[in-house]
């Protein structure tokens, strides 16, 4: 395999594998937030704020993988 093909493979693998963990994490955060909302509907606004913050934390990991793959792809 030539270096160009290996580079494309590296780009696809870095974002593909890097998205698994955050995907699971965001799903768990969402499900737990829904559960909390079902038990305690009047706390909706504070649950929403905390949920968005936690999702942003989990998503940041996927964004690092994305930055790595973008750097690999476009430089």
């Amino acid at each position: 395999m030539d270096s160009e093909g290996l580079k494309s493979l590296a780009v696809a693998l870095s974002i593909g594998l890097g998205a698994i963990g955050p995907g699971i994490g965001i799903g768990m955060i969402g499900s737990k937030a829904m559960e909390a909302l079902g038990r305690n509907p009047e706390a909706e606004s504070s649950i929403r704020t905390t949920m968005i913050l936690s999702i942003a934390f989990a998503e940041a990991v996927a964004i690092y993988a994305l930055v790595v793959s973008l750097i690999l792809k476009f430089t």
Partner: protein, 245 residues
Amino acid sequence: MPEISIKAEPIFNFFGFRVTNSLFTSIIVTIVFLLIAIYYSKQITASKKSGFFYLIHFIIKSIYDLFETVLGDKIRIFFTLMLSFFLFILLQNWFGLLPGVGSIMIAIKEHGKILHVPVFRGGNADLNTTLALALISVTMIQFYGIKFLGFVQYLKKFIDLSNPINFFVGFLEIISEISKILSFAFRLFGNIFAGEVLLTIVAFLVPVLASFPFIILEVFVGFVQALVFAMLTTVFLNGAIAKHH
């Protein structure tokens, strides 16, 4: 495929200082931000206020209520900083979505070759801008930590010689402060730059109408990232000024 550059390109020289397209857009956003701020402060004393004033007032009031739930009564000190972060990042993100940003090209000469680069590029789609914002945020966290706890007390968080475990925890605290800068900078840059790449590629694949849902998504992402940046700064600040044991 359209040409995508991960770094901002210089568009002109200003007395030997190379002005990149991201910096140019940031300057425009700063001027717009200033004009809105001046308009707001003028209107605040006027007897008959306009509808636009009440719109800004409503936005500021909502953000105030949101941050008050985290900061409590200390919001009187920190609100200006957080509001500046939020509104500046929000305007930067949304300015990058306007038509013409990234599509109006200019021809520049570099190393004897003629290159075509966009005149405007979203300010936060350049790592330098987000790194600057992250540095301001983390420096302010350290500054307020020292101001509220005192220099010695604040330093104790990082260098604690009472026992080996605390010493190692202090070492980890130093690393976490550095990683805060990186995570702030890369989160904002990654989200906005990825949005720009996504919009470019979708417009390239399907020229008509397909971009529309993605633009709505990017408006939402721009809002959430501005909120997350300001909110994380608030949470870290709250942790830095709290007395630990």
